[in-house]
């Protein structure tokens, strides 16, 4: 056999030409790779899913479009995996005929497949290593930040403790001094002095609390309590404290709300206190409502979810401020009539305490009409 014959034979065995018309009827084929003799007078579109998918495109193919080329078509055929390149072209001699050239490139592509597979696996391994490295770096940064944070908390703790003692002394002394001051103006000044000192202590305690929450040091203690009693105690605090207000706080607990519950009663009191305190601060006339509804009760699992609403008839919150109402140190623009107290941590603490216990919290408000803060909380049934 001459080298020319070898060459012819080699290429002859690597390619097949198929001719079919627009309806897919087989006109001729050399059958080098795929035996299609039996398919004569049948539509090739029906026998080859590949062709079925591009039937409309082939029917529209014109001679001017040139070659329509599909590289790397993986086909399982006659118990063998093949990788073909397909090329379609409208015949120049007979425009009703489509020429389909099948090239067997299995050996070449199988080599490429190995390379491609190794490349893909190596990219994934590299990405995993990068992610692991990134995670280690982040972990170290977190540890470093935690150390700094702990130093800050310890420092804040010490400073606040040191500050609270003299402030309490100021508060106590101003209270005692009232006995010796006879003039009304002097009593008023002392009252203001005592109030300012108490506010300062409250602010320091809030800062400590938010630091504890953010450092994950806060713990919740589950105890049994009677919901109605807890709410009464919170509401009565405002009746008898120095923050006494003329605005009434009306409580409405739905009858289906379970009375005997298990949960962190101290934190629940704190949440309700902060929300009512906030509502009172921004309400100059009207009333505050505290409504409690049952959202869900699962007797089998002995738990329930309650929905709390604190509704005021206060100054309301502008739309642009609603997004930031729970953000730390955020204070809305206040009406001139509303005293600007606090440092903007009360609602942040409430949100954190609700969410850390698996609840959700939100707010609706209309400027000039009032606000509604609502939250859900899960409790066990006694």
């Amino acid at each position: 056999m001459s080298i020319q014959d070898y060459k012819k034979t080699y290429f002859y065995n690597k390619a097949q030409i198929v001719l079919f018309n627009e309806n897919g009827i087989l006109i001729d084929t050399c059958n080098t790779l795929i035996n299609m003799v039996g398919d004569k007078k049948q539509s090739v579109f029906d026998n080859f899913p590949f062709l079925e998918g591009i039937k409309a495109g082939l029917q529209k193919l014109s001679y001017e479009d040139g070659d329509l080329y599909f590289p790397r078509v993986e086909v399982s055929f006659q118990n063998k995996d093949w990788v073909f390149d397909f090329t379609f072209r409208r015949s120049k001699d007979d425009l009703s005929t489509i020429v389909w050239m099948i090239q067997d490139l299995t050996d070449q592509y199988m080599y490429l497949l190995t390379v491609q597979q190794e490349r893909n696996e190596s990219i994934i391994k590299r990405q995993l290593l990068e992610a692991r490295h990134h995670s280690i770096v982040l972990q170290k940064e977190i540890e470093h930040l935690n150390k700094i944070h702990q130093i800050r908390i310890d420092y804040l703790d010490k400073v606040s403790h040191d500050i609270k003692i003299p402030i309490r002394e100021i508060s106590g002394m101003s209270f005692l001094l009232k006995e010796y001051v006879k003039e009304e103006k002097g009593k008023e000044y002392l009252e203001n002095l005592s109030g300012a000192a108490q506010n300062l202590v409250g602010m320091i305690e809030q800062m400590m609390e938010i630091s504890q929450i953010h450092s994950g040091q806060i713990q919740f203690r589950e105890t049994a309590f009677i919901l109605h009693e807890l709410i009464n105690i919170v509401v009565n605090t405002f009746k008898y404290s120095s923050k006494k207000s003329d605005i009434p706080v009306k409580v409405n607990i739905d009858t289906e709300v379970p009375v005997y519950l298990m949960g962190d009663k101290v934190r629940l009191s704190q949440i309700l206190y902060n929300l009512i305190n906030n509502a009172l601060k921004f309400t100059l006339e009207g009333s505050i409502k505290l409504n409690v509804h049952l959202k869900q009760k699962k007797l089998e699992e002995k738990n329930c979810t309650l929905h709390f609403h604190v509704i005021d008839t206060g100054v309301g919150i502008e739309q642009q401020d609603l997004l930031y109402v729970f953000a730390p140190y955020h204070q809305t623009k206040l009406s001139k009539k509303v005293p600007n107290e606090g440092i903007g941590l009360g609602l942040t603490i409430v949100k954190e305490l609700v969410e850390l216990q698996g609840g959700t919290i939100g707010v609706n408000s209309t400027p000039g009409e009032g606000s509604e803060f609502y939250f859900t909380m899960n409790f066990k049934l006694q």
Binding site: P49, L68, Y69, R72, V75, V83, Y109, Q117
Partner: protein, 162 residues
């Protein structure tokens, strides 16, 4: 009952589970060994949508890092697209918005279903974190290994194409 044939393509980055999704859908099995798809493989399956039977001709396209590298001829005659990414591998979804835009321009009339695969590899918390950084919210979170939502993906696409 009326029957129609529709070509669909599954595309996305490499090693995101396109072939596994097809294997789960067509043959109800999951291939545990990863074997890359070099070019394109074709499978068929009949999907019953109620009024119409859709004979799906499924083109499983080899994963590329961007859709621009997929041979243009592969898009020819596609009536629907399933774009797949790997929820556990961020590099497979960073380019998702550009890819989907690219496909929309190529096939403006074809519905595109976006699928976040390998959901079984993520715990609930990690899944929420991943969701928060996805450029586009997927239509389905699937697991080809377990079979979660796989049938629904193809059914939804079939319904969208008729």
């Amino acid at each position: 009952m009326k029957s129609i044939s529709k070509k669909i393509i599954l595309t996305g980055s490499f090693c995101v589970g396109k072939t596994s999704l097809i294997s789960r859908f067509v043959y109800q099995r999951f291939p545990f060994n990863y074997q890359t798809t070099l070019g394109v493989r074709i499978d068929k399956k009949l999907v019953e949508t109620g009024d119409v039977n859709v004979n799906m001709i499924i083109w499983d396209i080899g994963g590329e890092q961007t859709q621009a590298r997929v041979p243009e001829s592969y898009y020819l005659g596609s009536s629907g697209v399933i774009y797949v990414f790997d929820l556990s591998r961020p590099s497979s979804f960073y380019n998702m918005a550009n890819d989907v835009e690219f496909i929309r321009k190529k096939l403006p009339k074809s519905p595109i279903i976006i699928v976040g695969n390998k959901v079984d590899l993520l715990d609930e918390r990690t899944l929420e974190e991943v969701k928060s950084i996805l450029p586009i919210e997927p239509d389905f979170y699937t697991s080809a290994r377990v079979g979660n939502n796989v049938e629904d993906v193809f059914l939804k696409l079939a319904q969208a194409m008729i």
